[in-house]
């Protein structure tokens, strides 16, 4: 790797953390002009910065507005890099199906999770909000997802997460996917009770957890 590429990657990461969209676009253009590896630009530049932003969120330094601003900046950079991306390098991405469970229409938490999943390298299929349990199962089967992410803000709808897990068992694909749950009323105990594979209080930690769990899933497969 050239010194210039290293520098650009470092700067890309910084400009995401610093929420500077103009600088990010400039850097991304410069990166492309130099014909550096685009996949690396995303993973070690833009996504690296977003990952740092997620950690700052966990450390309470950043909050939702900062995290979303960073993600806007990351996506601005991606718009520049993506057209130059080699198809082969995206083909074997793990897929994740995410959505807000049926009965709930509050989706900010899910959106944050989606961003962080993309940052960690997942291809995310977003089913939106108020999603019937069976839709998660069907979509996961259709795309061969390794992760299902379920989100809710309301106590009254959280039990639909358990319904999704039951349906996965019925369809005999429970062991093929990692199920992550999150949202205001959700806790680790609740995740354990309904037999979800993971829970984290923050979107960034949840996305990291998803990555780890998928690794284990593939190992045991």
């Amino acid at each position: 790797m050239t010194i210039l590429q290293k520098e650009l990657l470092h700067e890309l990461s910084n400009s995401v953390v610093e929420m500077d969209d103009e600088r990010t676009t400039e850097l991304a253009e410069q990166y492309v002009e130099n014909k550096f590896d685009v996949y690396e630009g995303i993973a070690n530049g833009l996504a690296h910065g977003m990952d740092r932003a997620g950690k700052l969120y966990e450390e309470e330094e950043y909050y939702i507005p900062e995290l979303l601003m960073c993600s806007d900046v990351m996506y601005a950079g991606l718009d520049v890099l993506k057209p130059h991306l080699d198809y082969a390098s995206t083909a074997n991405k793990h897929k994740a199906v995410v959505g807000v469970v049926e009965g709930d229409t509050h989706d900010i938490g899910k959106n944050l999770f989606k961003i962080m999943l993309e940052t960690t390298g997942f291809e995310v299929i977003d089913l939106g909000r108020d999603v019937p349990p069976i839709d998660f199962v069907n979509k996961a089967k259709e795309v061969g997802a390794s992760v299902i992410g379920l989100s809710t803000l309301m106590t009254t709808t959280m039990d639909n997460m358990a319904v999704v897990i039951e349906l996965l068992k019925k369809e005999n694909i429970r062991d093929d996917v990692v199920v992550l749950v999150g949202g205001g009323p959700i806790s680790q105990s609740y995740a354990d009770k309904i037999g979800a594979d993971g829970y984290a209080p923050e979107a960034s930690a949840a996305a990291r957890l998803a990555k780890e769990l998928v690794k284990e899933l593939k190992k045991s497969a």
């Binding site: 507005p65 900062e66 979303l68 009965g103 709930d104 106590t155 009323p185």
Partner: protein, 594 residues
């Protein structure tokens, strides 16, 4: 000490459920989800499961070592003895009073006296026939009236009770001096009951209580969830509320030497969930998208159907609401303020776990409800408590010191909604917290002339920053985030309505703050954290418990009743969570930048 023996049951019930079934009062704001950490108990004897991860997060090592646990996560494996650690129920402030507009007293219920002709051998027709000859337009189709007829004929005079033109009851002798009613506001947290003299047209006295349903969950969603999960949940919550209302009615009657049998009508204002539960109606549909209530319009029933302590002829009138999240309590407030009639642009807001907002653009009304969370009520805050004795309710930061105002001037044991709001407002003002809501680090203020004097108030625990307010009382970074969420929810609702109605913030003539919790939030704090934008500072007015006032007006005035029924149909409801631009707006509103 509050030693308590809990008897083991075969079915997997949590200690919290067992205690609640035995009517042991225990705070459980999150409804037993393990997320709030408030239902602490000490296990004295008995075998239970090992502490779960939430307990390890919420409890200190010392607490865990001494056997303290969270009741909602403890599953007894046999009979156990526990110490219920709740602080003895402190007197929580309840706001019963509020602004009352002028209105014409014209109650729906009235009485008239008649002199009866007694039967004779020459005229030996039934009591019913005789009675109908004296009292015109009478058709007796009411069993209660039939039952009373023989008693009435023992006396010379009879008093007839009317609901407008309809006869609803009869009483022997002239009882026109005793004509009473009850006006009720059922809040999610508090209940206010007023005894009203319908003849004189005056409110005699009011009594208040904490809503007995709070032990099953603090906010409406946890109540709805309780109803959904518990087999007879709706009956339990319904009965708890009726019992509480009857107790309050009895208290009022005893204090004022009034017989409850002389209460002929009760009017009720409440949010939609409370209104459903008051009538014993299932609430499931309110708790999930598309969030529809079973009913929203005004309701009229016989009070005996609900077991309300009153005359056997008494009626119940429930005020009308708009939707699941804009209930009769808000319609009442809008009616009290005459929002529809005034040629002004007025913003009406009731601040609570749900912030309900109504905007009047020269009488054209639209509304929305925002999920503010319970932070402004002192809940979901690490040292949070309700506004009761020992709660910090005011905070002032000056001259290198943090000054506290504590309810009833005792030593501080926690912080309530108005306290947390003012604390953060002050921290923002002096700069201990930046505009993004981040508490500054100790190192960063050491060289700052204006801030270095506060360095001993700043601390870090496990890498998480907090500001100390007193011994064992602090505001954590997480607490500030909770207030930001509340602020973001309310302010974004505010802007959404303005956008929707196409008017500008500066075109508002007035901001009316209604309700229990709003009353205690100072204008300076509201402006300080940005719940209310700066430009509106001089335009804020508090109207107190306008829900109860609305119920009172409906009890005393037929016209007010009609007015509010009409209003409820004029208020447009706007669902925020599905609005395309909402997330961007909400995010923007989270910041303390102005």
């Amino acid at each position: 000490m509050n030693h308590y023996l809990c008897v083991y049951e075969e079915n997997e019930k949590s200690l919290l459920e067992l205690l609640q079934e035995d009517e042991v009062k225990l705070e459980s704001p999150c409804g037993g989800n393990g997320t709030c950490g408030k239902c602490k108990v000490k296990i004295i004897e008995g075998i239970v499961n090992k502490p779960l991860v939430e307990e390890i997060n919420h409890l200190s090592k010392e607490e865990l070592d001494s056997g303290i646990r969270l009741a909602c996560l403890v599953y007894p494996k046999g009979d156990i003895t526990v110490d219920v650690l709740y602080k003895k129920e402190r007197n929580q402030r309840v706001l019963a009073e509020g602004y009352i507009p002028e209105f014409e007293v014209n109650p729906v219920i009235s009485k008239r006296v008649y002199t009866l002709k007694k039967p004779t051998l020459e005229n030996n027709v039934s009591y019913e026939t005789l009675f109908s000859r004296t009292v015109k337009n009478l058709k007796i189709n009411n069993l209660e009236i039939l039952k009373q007829l023989h008693k009435v004929f023992e006396e010379e005079k009879v008093t007839v009770i009317y609901d407008q033109d309809e006869i609803i009851g009869i009483e022997p002798e002239d009882t026109t001096e005793s004509l009473y009613g009850i006006a009720v506001d059922i809040g999610t947290t508090t209940i206010v009951v007023s005894l009203v003299d319908l003849k004189k047209g005056v409110e005699i006295q009011s009594e208040t209580a904490i809503n007995p349903q709070t032990k099953y969950g603090l906010d409406v969603l946890s109540r709805i969830d309780f109803v959904r999960k518990k087999e007879n949940g709706v009956d339990l919550l319904h009965k708890a509320m009726i019992d509480c209302l009857n107790t309050l009615i009895e208290k009022l009657c005893n204090k004022n030497h009034v017989s409850s049998k002389k209460i002929y009508e009760m009017t009720i204002a409440a949010n939609s969930t409370m209104m459903h539960l008051f009538l014993g109606i299932d609430t499931a549909s309110i708790g999930k998208s598309p969030y529809v209530p079973v009913f929203a319009s005004e309701q009229n029933f016989s009070a005996s159907l609900l077991g309300i302590n009153s005359s056997p002829f008494a009626k119940i009138y429930c005020l009308s609401g708009v939707s699941s999240y804009i209930g009769a309590d808000i319609v009442a407030g809008v009616g009290v303020c005459d929002l529809d009639k005034r040629h002004k642009n007025i913003l009406f807001i009731d601040i609570g776990t749900n912030g309900e907002i109504v905007l009047s653009k020269k009488g054209e009304l639209s509304s929305c409800s925002c999920a503010a969370g319970p932070a402004l009520e002192g809940m979901n805050i690490s040292c949070g408590m309700r506004a009761a004795q020992g709660a910090i309710e005011g905070v002032e930061i000056k001259n290198d010191n943090i000054h506290l105002k504590v309810i009833e001037d005792t030593s501080a044991i926690g912080i309530c909604g108005s306290g947390i709001l003012e604390a953060i407002s002050e921290m923002l003002r002096v700069g201990l917290v930046n505009k993004a809501g981040r508490i500054k680090s100790k190192e960063s203020i050491i060289d700052d002339e204006n801030l270095k004097g506060y360095k001993n108030y700043l601390t870090e625990v496990d890498g998480k920053r907090r500001v100390l307010l007193g011994e064992n009382i602090w505001v954590t970074q997480g607490d500030i985030r909770q207030v930001q969420l509340a602020k973001g929810a309310i302010l974004s609702g505010f802007y959404s309505l303005l956008n929707f109605m196409n008017i500008d913030m500066k075109d508002l003539d007035e901001v009316i703050i209604a309700g229990q919790f709003g009353k205690h939030l100072k204008v300076d704090s509201l402006i300080g954290v940005g719940i209310i934008p700066d430009v509106l500072k001089e335009k804020v007015r508090y109207i107190g418990n306008s829900s109860k006032t609305g119920a009172l007006m409906c009890l005393l005035s037929h016209e007010s009743r009609k007015k509010m029924e009409k209003l409820s149909k004029q208020i447009h409801y706007f669902e925020l969570s599905t609005d395309e631009n909402y997330e961007k707006l909400f995010t923007k509103c989270l910041s303390f930048k102005k």
